[in-house]
């Protein structure tokens, strides 16, 4: 029996029992839609986390005091307050990075790097009667380069601001809109922890990033930290080092580790790079996505049982037809293939409809709540799964049909 005949027969049989076929397919539609949509949520989450992590540049290294073994738990590439709390917890007593350390590294490292030392503290910002809390980031002009922060209005912190300890600040986008809803903040005076500062620039919005956002921060000259916020002299909480050639990050890590170990006589610091953290997040999120797909797969299993059930009913109903076909020369294999094609066609049609439902569903419904990404591989997986379900759950009914004895099948009323 050639395949075209088989497909025509199968479509006919499915069409002949439209309602029943549709209800059977519905199980697969729901199953496939669940798998594809849950994977879309998993992939979407992964992608948004990765894009936040990589928004500060893939060639960045993060140098913090204190030796830590667990890279995944300790690191926070965006330098949020939470990240610093975590890194401080890991600092062994007395271990610290100083501006002298950084100068020492810069003088010795052979690759081209941009070094951005930062300190950070929570602050209260006030303009007139409006008050908000935010993060004070004490930084040098290199901060804007390594963290990809651009200026929307005014100018950056300058080297002069840093060396002169000028009370000039760059404010985040949210700070601007909260404190100065109707006018540009550039040139205005604001109060930070009670003291007066002049706004020289407004940073462009970067949206939500991992950890705290620059949008709710105020960037102050690095030297102002130790003068007015009680940060120890020359102390650097966190340093971002950008490798100008991102392919050389591993070598640069090794080099800096050697240089600093030599100076400190021990490894009392940690260097992390975005690539390594990205790899960890990727693998963790891949596991999460697989888990979500497995949960969706459960409903696919139920759909498959539905197919098996209906195929068994169909075999019983068509016992006489099977007998007639056998009398006309159908071999066991012919009958087996006929019913397998029928069950596969049911589940594949269900699978295709399920994909349509999931694409519509994730574009118009789920995407309102979270990022969804439907990948080609999840579509392929869904199609593959639905074929597999059709064949797997079709085998038993098809074998039952194929093994009917012609005499008994013909006698069936």
């Amino acid at each position: 029996m050639d395949l075209r005949d088989s497909f025509r027969n199968a479509t006919r049989a499915i069409w002949a029992a439209k309602m029943r076929s549709f209800l059977t397919m519905l199980g697969i539609i729901i199953g496939i839609a669940a798998v594809v949509m849950l994977m879309a949520v998993g992939n979407g989450t992964k992608q948004s986390i990765l894009s936040r992590m990589q928004s500060s540049g893939s060639g960045n290294l993060y140098l913090t005091a204190g030796a830590r073994s667990n890279v995944l738990m300790g690191g926070n590439p965006e330098g949020g307050a939470g990240g610093f709390a975590a890194s401080r917890a890991g600092v062994s007593s007395g271990a610290e990075i100083t501006t002298q350390d950084l100068t020492y590294i810069e003088a010795r490292v052979t690759y081209s790097v941009v070094v951005s030392p930062t300190n950070q503290t929570n602050i209260t910002i006030k303009n007139g009667n409006t008050t908000m809390s935010g993060t004070g980031i004490f930084a040098t002009p290199t901060y804007f380069q390594v963290e990809n922060v651009t200026i929307a209005d005014g100018r950056m912190i300058s080297d002069g601001d840093v060396s002169n300890r000028t009370r000039n600040v760059v404010i985040g986008n949210t700070v601007q809109t909260t404190l100065f809803p109707n006018e540009s903040a550039v040139g205005q005076l604001i109060r930070i922890n009670g003291a007066s500062y002049k706004v020289v620039g407004v940073a462009a919005s970067k949206g939500e990033t991992v950890g705290s956002s620059v949008d709710t921060a105020i960037v102050l000259p690095f030297s102002v930290g130790e003068k007015s916020f009680g940060i120890a002299h020359n102390r650097v909480q966190r340093t971002t080092i950008e490798c100008v050639d991102p392919t050389q990050t591993k070598v640069v890590i090794a080099e800096i580790t050697d240089i600093l170990t030599l100076k400190h006589k021990k490894v009392d610091f940690t260097i992390q790079d975005v690539a390594a953290m990205t790899a960890l997040v990727t693998s963790a999120m891949t596991i999460l996505t697989a888990l979500l797909a497995a949960i969706g797969g459960l409903s696919l299993l139920v759909g498959g049982i539905g197919i098996m059930n209906i195929m068994l009913v169909s075999v019983t109903e068509r016992t006489r037809e099977i007998g007639i076909r056998k009398a006309l020369g159908a071999r066991e294999r012919d009958i087996l293939v006929q019913f397998l094609i029928e069950s596969s066609l049911l589940s594949v049609s269900g699978g295709v409809l399920g994909i349509v439902v999931s694409v519509l569903g994730s574009d118009f419904v789920v995407s309102r709540f979270t990022t969804t990404v439907i990948t080609g591989s999840s579509i392929l997986l869904a199609v593959g799964f639905s074929i597999a379900v059709g064949v797997f759950f079709g085998v038993y009914p098809a074998r039952t049909a194929a093994r009917l004895k012609p005499v008994e099948a013909l006698r069936y009323e």
């Binding site: 029996m1 050639d2 005949d5 006919r12 049989a13 002949a16 006489r320 037809e321 007998g323 007639i324 076909r325 056998k326 009398a327 006309l328 020369g329 159908a330 071999r331 066991e332 294999r333 012919d334 004895k405 012609p406 005499v407 013909l410």
Partner: protein, 228 residues
């Protein structure tokens, strides 16, 4: 030359602890181009005999030769092949597939044939056979749209599709009125005249009288084998 050789064919059914011999040692030969009626009352074993003749069932013991095959030793795939190529079935209940048109029913055996005919040749032969049974204008009707006699003629056309040497008819006129029955019998005689071997199972003496030879079965045994 013998087309069919039945020697000491037995068929036993076991129901619970009781064994029933539906066929208790049946032997006969049927030559090429014969028109044989197999007759017997219901329960005589003639249905079982028919099923074994048609390779729809296998005997418990004994040897069945059809042409040059020892059918009693064949496996299910080979039996399917024989049913496809060597035997044309005509059943009492017509056994047409209800969702297919008359022509599609006639073409159905081609689906299972290893001898591949082109689609055009198949259809041409289907048309020719429908014309031969006088249903040229009913080719695209479904079985439900046809009378019993017409359905049985479609079944005969289907039986002829693969041009088998043997036509095996099991009470083909059992469900028909006398006019329909006469038409079927006439077609059978035509086929016989064209060289087919006809094995015709019936319990109707008037039909038996028109066969060349009558084999009578009773209680699973051949009780008479006469030539008219």
């Amino acid at each position: 030359m013998n087309l069919i050789e039945f020697s000491d064919i037995r068929k036993a059914y076991t129901i619970g602890s009781v064994t029933i011999d539906a066929l208790a040692g049946v032997s006969f030969d049927i030559g090429e181009h014969e028109f044989v009626a197999i007759m017997g009352p219901s329960g005589s074993g003639k249905s079982t005999l028919m099923h074994i003749l048609g390779c729809l069932d296998t005997p418990t013991s004994g040897t069945y030769r059809l042409e040059d095959h020892n059918v009693s030793e064949l496996r299910s795939n080979d039996l399917a092949h024989i049913r496809n190529r060597d035997i044309g079935f005509v059943f009492q209940a017509y056994n047409l597939l209800p969702h297919l048109s008359a022509l599609e029913n006639v073409l159905l055996p081609c689906t299972y044939s290893t001898h591949v005919m082109s689609g055009r040749d198949e259809r041409a032969r289907g048309h020719e056979l429908m014309e031969r049974v006088g249903l040229k204008d009913r080719m695209y009707n479904r079985p439900v749209e046809m009378s019993g006699g017409e359905q049985q003629r479609v079944a005969i056309a289907r039986a002829l599709m693969m041009d088998p040497p043997v036509i095996l008819a099991d009470e083909p006129t059992g469900n028909l009125n006398s006019k329909g029955a006469r038409e079927i019998l006439d077609i059978m005689k035509d086929l016989h005249a064209d060289g087919k071997t006809i094995v015709y199972v019936t319990h109707d003496d008037t039909i038996g009288a028109q066969a060349e030879r009558v084999i009578r079965i009773q209680d699973g045994r051949v009780v008479a084998d006469e030539r008219n």
